[in-house]
C-alpha cells in the first residue's frame, strides 16, 4: 500500500493549475536553489559516474509549474556537459495529484522556444508514487530534487486538540508529531539512498523551523497558523462547527528543525549515514511573501492583497480542513463552511493588512551518496 493513501483526500493539492498560480513564492524558493543545484550537478558530473541515461527526479512535483525553469536549467547543463547522453526525467507525486496539469506544464513551450517534450533525447515520465516509496530502480538516480513537499507526513499520528498544525502542538501530541516526523524523514532518506547512483546528489528544500524559531508565516507580525486556529475556534463559539470538527482539523505536517534534519546523518549509526548518504550542506533561508511585498510596495491596496493572498493559503489547507468537517453534513453545507472560513480570513487581512504575510522558511540541503 502506498503510505500516503491513509491521508489521500486530506492532503491532495487543489488541481487545475491552481497550485502554481497561487504559489509565486514557491517558485521563488526553487529559483533560489538554482545555484546549489547546479554546483551539486557539476560535482556529480565531474565524478564521471555512469554512462547510462542521466536520471533526474522531481519528488513531490505537484503540477510541475514551479520547478520547470529549474529543470530546464538542469537539463541544459547536463546537455552542455555531455551532448550525447540521454536524459530521463521522472516527475513524482501522489496518485491523486493533478497529472493533466503536470503534463500540460511539461509540454508547454518556454520563452526560449524549448519544451521538455520536444528536446531530443529527453525522456520524461510521471510516477504516481509517493516519496515514502522507492520510485526508481536501485542506483539509477543521478540528481534528485524536492521542494516544499516533504513536510507532509505519511500519516497523522494523532489529532492536535488545540491547534491545526504541529507548530502549535504541546506535550504528548507534540511528541507524537516529532516522532512521526523523525520516522518519516528516515524513511524518505532510506528510499532515496537506494535510488541514488554512486556520487549522485539530492537537493532537498524543505519547510523548517529555523535557528531563531521562525517558520512559514511566523517571521514577525501575526503567526499565520494561530490565525488558522483562531478563526476555526471562532466558528466553534459561533456553533458553525463542533469541537470534534475543530480537533480533526489537523494538518498532517511536521517542520523539522536543522538538528532534526541532521540527526540521521550525524551519528555513525544514523540511518542515512549507514546507507551511504552525507549531508554536504544545510542552511536555512527566509523567502519573503510575494503577496505582502506587493502590498508594502504600494502596488496593491489592502483588498487586492487580501484577494490574492488567501488562495495561496487555501491551496494547501482546504482539503484537510474540508475533510475535518463531519460527513453527516451535506457536502453543500461543508463547502459553504469552507467558503465562509476563507472569507473570514480574507476580511481579516483586508482589515489589518500590515500584520499578514506568509514568508517561507526553508532548509536547503545538499545530500551526496558516497561512490
Amino acid at each position: 500500500m502506498n503510505a500516503n493513501d491513509a491521508q489521500t483526500g486530506s492532503t491532495a493539492m487543489k488541481g487545475g493549475g491552481y497550485y502554481s498560480l497561487s504559489t509565486v513564492g514557491a517558485k521563488d524558493v526553487i529559483d533560489g536553489a538554482g545555484d546549489l543545484v547546479i554546483r551539486a550537478l557539476e560535482a556529480h558530473l565531474q565524478s564521471g559516474n555512469g554512462k547510462d541515461a542521466f536520471t533526474i527526479a522531481d519528488m513531490g512535483c505537484a503540477d510541475g509549474g514551479t520547478s520547470l525553469d529549474m529543470i530546464h536549467r538542469v537539463v541544459g547543463q547536463v546537455r552542455k556537459h555531455d551532448p550525447q547522453r540521454p536524459i530521463r526525467l521522472i516527475y513524482e507525486d501522489q496518485p491523486t495529484n493533478d497529472y493533466n496539469a503536470l503534463f500540460q506544464n511539461v509540454r508547454a513551450t518556454q520563452p526560449d522556444g524549448n519544451s521538455l517534450a520536444t528536446m531530443p533525447d529527453v525522456y520524461w515520465y510521471a510516477a504516481p508514487v509517493s516519496f515514502y516509496e522507492q520510485v526508481l530502480p536501485a542506483g539509477t538516480l543521478n540528481l534528485g530534487f524536492s521542494a516544499t513537499a516533504m513536510h507532509w507526513l505519511s500519516a497523522k499520528p494523532c489529532e492536535i486538540s488545540n491547534h491545526v498544525q504541529a507548530v502549535g502542538a504541546q506535550g504528548r501530541e507534540l511528541e507524537a508529531f516529532a516522532e512521526q516526523g523523525r520516522k518519516d524523514w528516515e524513511r524518505i532518506l532510506s528510499c532515496r539512498a537506494s535510488e541514488l547512483a554512486p556520487e549522485g546528489r539530492m537537493i532537498i528544500v524543505n519547510f523548517c523551523r529555523d535557528e531563531s524559531g521562525q517558520y512559514l508565516g511566523n517571521t514577525g507580525g501575526i503567526n499565520m497558523f494561530d490565525i488558522f486556529r483562531n478563526l476555526w475556534e471562532n466558528f466553534v463559539r459561533e456553533d458553525v462547527i463542533t469541537a470534534d470538527e475543530f480537533e480533526r482539523m489537523t494538518l498532517p505536517q511536521y517542520y523539522n528543525c536543522v538538528e532534526e534534519f541532521k540527526a540521521p546523518f550525524e551519528a555513525p549509526d544514523g540511518v542515512a549515514h549507514l546507507a551511504g548518504l552525507r549531508l554536504e550542506h544545510i542552511e536555512t533561508r527566509v523567502v519573503p511573501c510575494p503577496y505582502a511585498a506587493r502590498f508594502h510596495s504600494g502596488e496593491w491596496d489592502a483588498p487586492t492583497f487580501a484577494h490574492f493572498y488567501i488562495p495561496t493559503l487555501r491551496s494547501w489547507t482546504e482539503s484537510t480542513f474540508f475533510s475535518g468537517l463531519s460527513e453527516s453534513r451535506p457536502a453543500e453545507d461543508r463547502h459553504a463552511i469552507i467558503e465562509r472560513y476563507y472569507n473570514a480570513y480574507e476580511a481579516l487581512v483586508a482589515h489589518e493588512p500590515e500584520q499578514h504575510s506568509m514568508d517561507y522558511v526553508h532548509a536547503y540541503m545538499v545530500i551526496r551518496k558516497v561512490g
Copy 2:
C-alpha cells in the same frame, strides 16, 4: 511537436474506465497473445542480455485495463527467471489519455492479491508521449507490447469523400491513406528499433486486413464500417448534417495487410531491416465479437445485445465523429446529433441482431532486435 497533436481531440478515447468496460473483446485479443509474449520473453531472457532493470513498455495502453493480466504474467515470468532484477514498467499513450483511470487500474489489487503498485522492485511510470516518438533511451527496452493501437495514423492525409474509414476509400484517397500508413508504420518501427535492447523483443497486435480480405466488423454479415457510413449518409439526406460534415467524418486510421506489415523487414534496404529489426512471426487471427456471441448463445435478447454492443463501437468513433460536426453548431446540438446517431445504430442492431458483430481481425507479430 508530438505527431499526434494534429489529431488530438479527434482520436482521444472516452475516459473514465469506459474503454475497458466496453472492450471485453480487446482483452480477449490480448489474452490470446499471451503465449507468444511469454515465448518471446523467454527467448530474450535466454540471450542473457543486460543486468539493468528489465524494461517493459505497453504502447498505446489506454486505461491499462485490457492488458493488466498479461502484464502481470510477464512481470511474474521475469521475476521467476531472475528474482533480483528490478523491473521498470512504462505505460505509454497520448497526452490526452485518461491517466487517472490508468493509475487506478495499475494500482488495483488482482484476485491473487498482487498489485503492480506494491510488488517489490517493480517501478512503473506513465509516459504521455505517442508511439510516433521515441519514448525510451536507446537500447533500454527489453520487451515491448502493443495491442489494437497502431492503426491510428499520426495524421489524416485527406478526407475520405464517400466513406468514414480507409477500408471504404478509393482511388487517390485510398493511395493517400496507404502511403500515410506506410510512412507511419516505418516511423513506429524506427522509434522502436532505437529503443530496443540487443535481442529485445516486441509483440505487436495490430488491426489488419487479413489474407481473405476480412477486417474489423467485416467477417461475413453486414460490413460495420458501411453501416457507420450509411447511417451518416441518411443524416445528410434528412438534413441533420451537411455534406461537408459527412466528408469530415473520416477516421484517421489505416489497416495494413500482411504484405504491408512485412514490407519494411523484407527488402535488404527496408527501414526496419536496416535498423536491425527482424520479423520473427506474423499471423492473422479473428477473435469473435463477445457481444454477438452472447446474443447467438441466447444469453442476451436483441435489445440487450444492441444496448451493450453500441458502447464498444462508440468508444473509439465518437470523438472523431463529434469533431467532424461543424463548430458553428452549439455544442449542445452537436451532442444531440451524436446521441441520435448511436441511437439509430442501436435501433438497427435491435431490429436485425443476427446481421451484426464486431469480430476483431488482427495481425500478431513478434519482432526481434538483433544483438
